[in-house]
């Protein structure tokens, strides 16, 4: 047992670090660290840098343009990109639809879609949730009716993250209304330019436009856009659910956020001294740092188990809950750190190109909105209550 990185792992970390030092655009890193808005172009610019290096599709087999990294290497890559302030990878194309296509798609689908994901030509979004089906996906209602060579799709999807940037959407649709709820669902790839699709922004409580509603009205989708077999979509969705589980806890992001918190609390002043020297505030920071330390080791233990051939199971659910609680605590402390200045909402300061004077400091403006935004962590991607249900059932067998 040696829980430190071995030499090969350390060498890989150095390689990642030197790549990030030289290739990660400074302007993008500054925005990420400052919690500022990222444009579609920022994301694409960084994606193309990664693609050129061959480090974009870290979860794909090599034959399709992926890299053969161990779980530990993936972990190191995630940690370091977070620490350097790289934009998070938007997962819908590269980490969600692609694995499904690779596993269940036709050769034509692979040939067509995968290169376009690698190149950044396609921006994918996810069409799972519906107004009446959040955690309970089995009750979804969007219908796809076969008519000759097409499906005719009608219905509505919601919480579609960054759907405003997307030109493709992968959807779970109901193709059999007679079957049991989970059996009549299919997995469909839909071009967002198809007539009948409308994207409507959802503005969240922090004033952000990050999620959308997507409406389908008699949308014609070629049958060749079906992935795998009709009515087997639930199986593919479940595959994806286990597939995307490592990294759910966001340990790397939390570590970066904790550093930021300490930086801020070192600059903020209380009674003439840095807030970070206030015993009560320092204790709260220390407690979350300790909890994060433990969660990081738990994450490494899960990764090591995957490395050893295991499949990350419901342990990830447990860690997802803990990880999101930690992240939310950090955002709570950041908001608290700036005291009365948590109230002002100078939206301009959050923009890409803000060059004016800052109301109080260059870091204050995004902190309260960010705190509210991060409430989503315990809701989306399977709420923490659902995660606990999973653990109770799968691990504890209750």
């Amino acid at each position: 047992m040696n829980i430190n990185f071995n030499e090969a792992e350390l060498a890989f970390r150095d390689e990642v670090r030197s790549f990030l030092s030289s290739e990660l655009p400074q302007d993008i890193a500054a925005k990420v660290k400052g919690g500022k808005h990222l444009s579609k172009e920022d994301h694409q610019r960084w994606q193309q840098i990664l693609s050129r290096k061959g480090w974009y599709a870290t979860h794909w087999p090599v034959e399709y343009g992926g890299v053969e990294w161990s779980a530990v290497q993936k972990h190191i890559f995630d940690e370091e990109t977070a620490a350097f302030g790289a934009p998070r990878t938007i997962p819908f194309g590269v980490n969600m639809v692609a694995p499904v296509i690779i596993k269940f798609g036709t050769e034509e689908q692979k040939q067509h879609y995968l290169p376009r994901i690698l190149s950044g030509e396609d921006w994918w979004c996810q069409g799972y949730s519906e107004p009446g089906a959040g955690s309970d996906l089995a009750s979804l209602k969007t219908r796809a009716v076969r008519q000759g060579d097409h499906y005719i799709v009608n219905g509505q999807k919601t919480w579609t993250t960054l759907g405003q940037h997307a030109n493709w959407i992968f959807c779970l649709v109901r193709t059999d209304t007679q079957a049991k709820p989970q059996s009549g669902i299919s997995f469909l790839l839909i071009d967002m330019q198809t007539p009948g699709i409308t994207v409507r922004p959802i503005i969240t409580l922090d004033g952000e436009h990050e999620v959308n509603e997507v409406f389908f009205e008699d949308v014609k989708v070629p049958v060749e856009n079906l992935v795998g077999e009709e009515n087997k979509g639930w199986t593919y969705a479940k595959y994806l659910l286990t597939y995307e589980r490592t990294g759910l806890a966001g340990i790397g992001a939390s570590k970066a956020a904790l550093d930021r918190l300490k930086e801020i609390a070192g600059k903020e002043v209380k009674n003439g001294k840095p807030l970070l020297q206030d015993p009560a505030f320092a204790s709260r920071v220390a407690q979350v740092e300790i909890d994060l330390m433990a969660a990081e080791i738990t994450n490494l233990r899960i990764i090591a188990a995957v490395e050893g051939g295991g499949v990350p199971g419901a342990e990830s659910s447990m860690l997802k809950v803990k990880g999101t609680e930690i992240r939310q605590t950090i955002t709570d402390l950041m908001r608290r750190a700036i005291g009365p200045y948590a109230q002002p909402f100078p939206e301009a300061e959050m923009e890409l190109d803000y060059e004016g004077e800052y109301l109080s400091s260059d870091y204050a403006a995004p902190l309260a909105p960010h705190y509210f935004n991060m409430r989503k962590l315990s809701i989306f991607g399977g709420s923490n209550e659902i995660q606990k249900n999973i653990v109770a059932k799968m691990i504890l067998e209750l």
């Binding site: 949730s129 009446g132 959040g134 955690s135 309970d136 009750s139 919601t158 919480w159 959802i202 503005i203 969240t204 409580l205 922090d206 004033g207 999620v211 903020e268 002043v269 209380k270 009674n271 003439g272 009560a280 505030f281 709570d332 908001r335 608290r336 005291g339 009365p340 200045y341 948590a342 109230q343 002002p344 909402f345 100078p346 109301l359 109080s360 309260a368 909105p369 705190y371 509210f372 409430r375 989503k376 315990s378 809701i379 989306f380 709420s383 923490n384 209550e385 606990k388």
Partner: protein, 380 residues
């Protein structure tokens, strides 16, 4: 011991409740918020016409002669409506400062106008370095002939954007965090050298930072004895704390109700989600925090007009601590139990969630007041 309202109080509560119910739904609030003033002048006028702006003032100043309990009733209804008007700043806190510290001339001049709603004032007491500490003051007021010249910056003056007059604390002597040497000045909103940096707040209010660049004021602008303003600031901040606690309770009640309704209406896995025991118990915890908050709002109101001293200070610190924690808990859980919908701008519940957390950033958060409570606690 009697928690019942008397007839007059019941009428006052009903008046406030009816007005808010009638004039302040969420869509209207969004319109008011987006207006230049950031609130409804018409609603402000109705508050005045119904006498609600006169409540805390003496009859001699055109007031109703009410106390903290009467303010509590009004603030709770304003909280329930997420009302945007600067009642707390102008009527409770600003008016209170003038009433306590002002001389007869100032009171006779200003209070009737404030009570009538025709003059709005806002206390400008915080500074960029002060956090919630009201005696951490570096803004300077230097003698200048018959008057004073003020320079410095005042931070996060909620309601300051629309105030006709600002009540500014400035140091006339003493060290940065000394209780002695702080003075109050009533300054015209359009005084030369006074700049307002106006902004919205994340919870939909408006406010400003004030930049004072050698602002000259006459001696008559001084509110109360020179260098001795701390007592009035501290006492009136206590009254404002009691009032904002009541506002928070109104917002919490609405937030809890919205969440409860949602649990009953929203179905998942074929049943209302309120059938899931974990969500039921969470809802019970929210209701329980609300009860604690209600109790502390009542207790705070019962001491807000009392003699200054340890007991009053302790209770007010305790109240704001409980309200801060309960507000954040209810806010976070209301969002969590709603799921995605609870995070959308177009849903009123999200705005209650924001207001409840932000109330913790006004007049001191739960950490600040826990520390204050400890300082007052007998530890030996």
């Amino acid at each position: 011991m009697d928690f019942k309202l008397n007839e007059e109080q019941q009428m006052l509560q009903e008046t406030a409740a009816r007005l808010v119910r009638g004039e302040y739904d969420f869509e209207k609030r969004e319109r008011f918020r987006q207006s230049d003033a950031g609130f409804s002048e018409a609603f402000w006028q109705q508050l005045s016409e119904l006498g609600l702006t006169t409540v805390p003032f003496d009859e001699a100043h055109g007031g109703f002669g009410g106390g903290a309990v009467e303010l509590q009733l009004i603030m709770t209804e304003l909280g329930r409506g997420l009302c945007l008007e600067p009642y707390l700043q102008s009527i409770v806190f600003g008016g209170g400062l003038i009433n306590q510290a002002g001389n007869d001339e100032q009171k006779n001049d200003l209070l009737p106008q404030i009570a009538a709603g025709t003059l709005k004032v806002a206390p400008a007491l915080l500074e960029p370095q002060s956090r919630y500490n009201l005696h951490d003051v570096v803004t300077k007021a230097e003698s200048d002939g018959d008057g004073y010249r003020l320079s410095g910056r005042k931070a996060v003056v909620i309601g300051g954007h629309c105030a006709d007059k600002l009540i500014v604390s400035a140091r006339t002597s003493g060290e940065q965090r000394s209780h002695d040497g702080i003075s109050l000045f009533v300054i015209d909103g359009n005084a030369s050298g006074l700049q307002r940096i106006t902004y919205e707040t994340i919870d939909g209010l408006k406010g400003c930072d004030l930049i004072l660049d050698s602002v000259s004021v006459p001696a008559s602008a001084l509110l109360g004895p020179v260098g001795q303003a701390h007592a009035a600031i501290d006492y009136q901040a206590g009254r404002a704390i009691a009032a904002i606690c009541a506002e928070a309770v109104g917002a919490m009640e609405e937030s809890v109700n919205l969440t409860l309704e949602y649990l009953k209406a929203r179905k998942q896995f074929g049943v209302p989600i309120g059938k899931f025991q974990v969500l039921q118990h969470r809802m019970v915890d929210m209701a329980s925090e609300l009860e604690q908050a209600r109790s502390m709002a009542v207790l705070a109101a019962s001491v807000a007009d009392a003699e200054p001293g340890n007991r009053r200070d302790s209770i007010l610190a305790a109240a704001k601590n409980v309200i801060g924690r309960a507000g954040q808990y209810i806010s976070e859980q209301s969002v969590q139990l709603h799921g995605g919908i609870g995070m959308t701008w177009e849903y009123s519940g999200a705005h209650y969630a924001k207001r409840l957390v932000m109330i913790n950033h006004q007049l001191g958060d739960d950490d600040h007041h826990l520390e204050a409570f400890v300082a007052l606690m007998k530890t030996s």
